[in-house]
Point group: C2
Chain length 442, copies 2
């Protein structure tokens, strides 16, 4: 087998065998295949795409390049969730507890964030005492006992993906559907769950702006995961504006707590119920989605979800009182109202810019080494379709009092809102549900 022939074959639009794909990935990991041949190959994949079988083979080759998390010690069906990212995405902190409270098993390894806010691990660490480093024994034991554990990724999952991603990043080959799908799923498949529910975002604030691209990615991921023997569902949901109201770390934990009480933002609650319902369905804890939704609404109403969060916090060394009394979470120095300059209805919100303004306040990292300030962030007061008067607050900034940061963030934030005279509808939120059986528009 020769690398040249494999590049040529892909360039010419032919399908690659599993052996050829393994040869490429293994050879690249062993540094027997140089970067320049991999770069040419990736660009050929960008143009020619990959069949579902090829994409599965690529993903599995990347999974096999590193460690795999062994969850056999956990009884029953383990279900995971992954979101393709967006702004103000607090879902995991709500989903984990309600799904576990409703009978699912959630054993989730997750990373730190690089971007406008921290990752789930950073958010959890804003709870006093909470430990995100567990041994594998603690991790599996906790899930067996309470149905839920969230920990930082310790093992080297899919190192081939890491190397290939770094190369894609400098060769303009990031936005290729099979490569994105493979990159996401290689880490997810290595993380050991039996089923995965994907939240694929689309809209102006998402990586996949166009619905068609999000759909293609969702279909590719479902096909890859099913090809690898997992149960898969993908929901395509809107990211035309930030999800919920909070964009930060402690303030997102607070928002999750509110949502677990049924007092959170409705878009966040609905998204958690839909994702959770699909997690319960593939876990075979329920017979259908309707039953699943009912159960999830029930664990919100009777606060069993909130209890589950407290149970997890306690199990992982955190202070459960902070869940009952969120004022025990890190509090910012100064709250600042950001007032609307214009008057009318919110037409559009550039979610990405809102994220950047939260990052500027200190909620996110620009470089890996940056330290996050858990207490800061942006709390939205107006979303698309809302009526707003001049001088009325669009948001509350939670800040450390640094004027320069505040001014900078304010400028970015105000530029992200379009306010106009015309009445506008709330954007459509749920687009489609994708399973191995096909696409169901919602």
């Amino acid at each position: 087998m020769r690398v040249y022939d494999i590049i040529l074959k892909k360039r010419n639009g032919e399908r690659l065998s599993k052996e050829e794909i393994n040869f490429m990935i293994e050879g690249y990991c062993k540094e027997e295949i140089p970067d320049y041949q991999m770069a040419a190959f990736l660009m050929a994949v960008y143009f020619q795409g990959m069949s579902p079988e090829e994409a599965t083979d690529l993903t599995m080759a990347m999974v096999n390049s590193g460690d795999r998390v062994d969850l056999k010690a956990i009884a029953g069906f383990k279900v995971d969730k992954h979101s393709t990212g967006g702004v103000g995405d607090t879902t995991t902190l709500v989903l984990g507890p309600i799904v576990a409270a409703a009978g699912g098993k959630v054993a989730k390894m997750t990373g730190r964030g690089l971007g406008h806010t921290g990752g789930t691990i950073d958010k959890l660490e804003s709870i006093p005492g909470f430990r995100t480093s567990l041994t594998m024994e603690e991790f599996t034991e906790n899930v067996n006992r309470i149905g839920l554990a969230l920990m930082g990724q310790t093992k080297e999952l899919a190192p081939a993906d890491k190397r290939i991603y770094a190369l894609r990043d400098v060769t303009a080959t990031v936005d290729s559907t099979p490569l994105i799908a493979g990159s996401i799923l290689s880490k997810k498949l290595a993380a050991g769950s039996d089923g995965i529910v994907l939240d694929v975002k689309t809209g102006s604030g998402a990586f996949m702006v166009k619905y068609e691209d999000a759909l293609a990615l969702a279909e590719a991921m479902v096909a890859i995961g099913e090809g690898a023997g997992k149960r898969m569902v993908a929901l395509i949901t809107s990211m035309e504006e930030p999800l919920g109201q909070a964009i930060g770390n402690a303030i997102e934990v607070k928002e999750a707590i509110d949502t677990l009480k049924g007092e959170g933002p409705k878009d966040l609650e609905e998204l958690c119920i839909e994702l959770g319902a699909n997690m319960l369905l593939i876990s075979e804890v329920v017979r259908n989605l309707k039953e699943a939704r009912e159960r999830l609404r029930e664990v919100i109403e009777n606060r069993k979800g909130l209890e589950k969060l407290k149970e997890m916090v306690k199990t992982q060394g955190g202070d459960p009182k902070a869940i009952d009394d969120p004022s025990l979470l890190p509090q910012c120095k100064e709250r600042i109202e950001v007032e609307s300059l214009g008057e009318g209805y919110v037409q559009k919100i550039d979610a990405f810019s809102v994220g950047v303004s939260s990052q500027v306040l200190g909620a996110g990292r620009q470089k890996k080494e940056d330290v996050i300030d858990s207490s800061v962030g942006v709390l939205l007061k107006k979303k698309i379709g809302d009526k707003v008067k001049a001088g009325e607050p669009l948001a509350i900034f939670h800040t450390d009092g640094d004027r320069k940061k505040i001014e900078n963030a304010k400028e970015k934030f105000l530029a992200s809102y379009s306010i106009g005279k015309e009445k506008v509808k709330k954007p459509k939120f749920f687009y489609a549900r994708v399973t191995k059986k096909g696409v169901e528009e919602l």
Copy 2:
């Protein structure tokens, strides 16, 4: 300016500016741009192509990466010729003398061959005493005096092309029209002539098998050359079978001598007259192609072309008696008739395989270090459309007597001939003439 943005732009099918292309080529030469980014860029060019302006900019960037031959000391219009390669291509040895005899100025730098036979330099070196290394002073003086000089390439012409070609060769990005055109023309433009006539081969024995591909290459090269201020003509000609009869070194020199006497193979003679006519036309030595052809036929009939060859040989230290008496050229040890197994008409000849059989006999190099045997090669006795009886010779092998080589070459050679019952026509030879005014089908 960032490499990433340039790759992305090309990947997305946008046009690059001259500055962007210079940035890529200069950065690559200075090793500031790594191979992997250049590889991704080249694959993007493979898929998205280049506009004529971009291809000219790329070519000029490669020209500017190295030395340029200065032919200013030669009075008048200097004309060059380039063939995209084929099997048994003796044209330069005929063309140079007849064009110079008819009043053109041919100052040609040429390389050694890597392939089925030697390059023009290797062929010339089979003439006893002939020197292919000249000083630039000798080179320009000779052309001023006798209108013709052929020398080995000494300067480093277009080193960027050399590096980029090596990368294309291992990343499956060789067969891209603008990249091929740029690679050929960068060396030709650096070689300093004022006009270039291109012989673009098409057919089963050519690099561009399909006419459309050859046409695209011809158009690209004409546009690039004109864009660089040169007068350009391209002829698209057939390579469905080897050109002429001889495939070797000394035997090709002998064939050139025969052709200069009007006693050579007709396909070779006609090709030389057409290429030469276009060389004279762009040199403005004649008013039109008809007049040019008449002049060239005249210098063949009155042997002034042959005299010119002798004059050049003498000027460059060779023995002119070898031109009068080709038995003074290197002679092989043993001639062997290769007999036809079948009977009927020659339907097809795989020119490439015939070339390989000549290489096996010792006429060509597989590696740069290989030493060529000037005396050996293949002399065809039958070409497409010819009638042949079983046992009749298809070719005469000129060999060094080595049985193993002979058997090996015979096997390759016989496999390259298809003989069948049906009468077949000679393949069409001249397809099209391409100038900046457009394509004229022939």
